[in-house]
């Protein structure tokens, strides 16, 4: 997970990384709506290709890109296969598998391609935003978009302490494993329960010490408001033109 979260550092020098997070997020959401409401497969696939190209241009290492896309790609392929063979009414081809005859349907293939295209298009858009924007800027952008502040605060707390808890979990897990805590189903179950309990205790204890430290620095229950620099007309105008052009292309397709 560290390489997912730290992917941004590879791209900090890229021009896209310096674009305001609000502009990127709003543009991505607008394109996402277009992808989801698309009735043809060409548009979602074109957005997926654009997103993938941007990710590569950002300099995202192929390994990280493969990790990010592996699950959605797998789901897309499975949807495609299942829709082709198990839905639809117009036979297109058939193959024999272990004595079974599987019939592929033209309309099933079309429906599967559409869903697979939407999955890949949507995931590509989020990948571009995620790879080119630091977490804190994304949260500030969500705050600007009027996402309730308490949600943003909780996300920032979770983000800050996620890695500490992961470290703790790994330490406890290794200690359990070295004491044969995962030998046999019953002991493994017990060890997992203990691991979850230890994590909760650490979460409680950390929250107390964090609060004490924050109160000493003036925390009164409200996190400092995110400071946004003024939106640059060039960025907003460019994003508007790009999204509009894509919308026109979608209408034409």
């Amino acid at each position: 997970m560290h390489h997912h979260f730290n992917a941004y550092r590879h791209h900090a020098a890229h021009p896209l990384a310096s674009v305001d997070a609000r502009v990127k997020l709003v543009s991505a959401l607008a394109l996402l709506v277009m992808v989801l409401s698309s009735q043809g497969v060409a548009f979602p696939l074109a957005v997926a290709a654009l997103g993938l190209a941007l990710c590569l241009h950002l300099g995202t290492p192929l390994r990280i890109l493969a990790l990010r896309f592996s699950e959605p790609l797998f789901i897309a392929v499975m949807v495609l296969a299942l829709k082709t063979f198990f839905s639809g009414t117009i036979p297109m081809f058939s193959i024999g598998v272990a004595g079974w005859e599987l019939v592929g349907h033209r309309d099933g293939l079309a429906a599967g391609l559409l869903i697979a295209g939407r999955i890949l298009g949507g995931v590509s858009l989020l990948a571009v935003v995620g790879f080119s924007t630091p977490f804190t800027e994304l949260m500030a952008a969500l705050s600007w978009l009027r996402v309730p502040q308490v949600l943003v605060d909780i996300a920032l707390f979770a983000w800050r302490y996620l890695f500490l808890l992961l470290e703790d979990a790994q330490v406890v897990y290794n200690a359990q494993k070295n004491r044969l805590g995962y030998v046999g189903c019953r002991r493994a179950l017990s060890s997992l329960g203990t691991l979850a309990g230890v994590l909760v205790i650490k979460a409680f204890d950390n929250s107390q010490s964090i609060t004490t430290a924050m109160v000493q620095r003036g925390y009164d229950g409200a996190m400092p408001a995110s400071v946004h620099r003024p939106l640059r007309a060039v960025e907003v105008g460019s994003a508007f033109l790009l999204v509009s052009a894509i919308a026109v292309l979608r209408l034409m397709s």
């Binding site: 390489h3 198990f86 309730p148 605060d153 790994q170 017990s190 979850a196 229950g221």
Partner: protein, 271 residues
Amino acid sequence: MLGKLHNMRVPAPGGGGLGRGIAAAGWPVSIATVFLFLPSPAHAMHISEGILPFPWALAWFVVLVPFLALGIRQLNALAREDLSMKPLVGLLTAVVFIISCMPIPVPTAGTCSHPCGTGVSAILVGPMVSVIIAAVSLLIQALFLAHGGLSTLGANTLSMGVVGSFAGWFAFRALRRVGGSLALAGFIAGLVADWATYATTSLLLALGIRGESPLWPLVVKIVIAFLPTQLPLGILEGVITAGMVTLLYRKRPDLLVKMRVITEKEVPGNA
């Protein structure tokens, strides 16, 4: 997942990550390939980005809004009384995030599944605040891990955060009320939260992708596709929840009292 998460680090003595360790412990992962031939859609427990058509994705956000609003209101009220509430909920969100990142393969559905963790959070902070925890956890997963998605955040939070949390919380409270032990109540709460989440996910998916097909046969197919993994995974989640509650009771009963899970009288030595 932890194994994968930490694979950029120096392996610790004993080696291997948590995910691999679970697998090595022989967790029941079904390979009932016969189910591969059932006509079921492939999906993760988190509904993937792009699977739901826009109107359905929007509809689940609308359904979610009142629960989120009530959760925010309750959390703000709690935070006014106790300044440590927001950091605590943030840390519990990280715990739920870690628990719900442990992938278990679902060959019959063509994807991975995982525990929810919302049963744990519902017991500790109540179902309303647990909705917030699930929403934030799912948001981070969608943005940075491509688990779930922004457009499916409403549907995923509804199944995991709302239905999972409330089912787990009601089961726990009901069993405690009739005199059930903490371990039993925790186990059933985890089990019910997990299974309720998957049942709801199946329903939401079927509603979103059925097209002209009849609804309930499709729901049944999706449920069947997940059964080989979800049956044992629900039990796993129940055991984790029970283990967590009993460990807290033995080691830190003060925390359970603070979170109003037990009363002062139930603390060992106070009876």
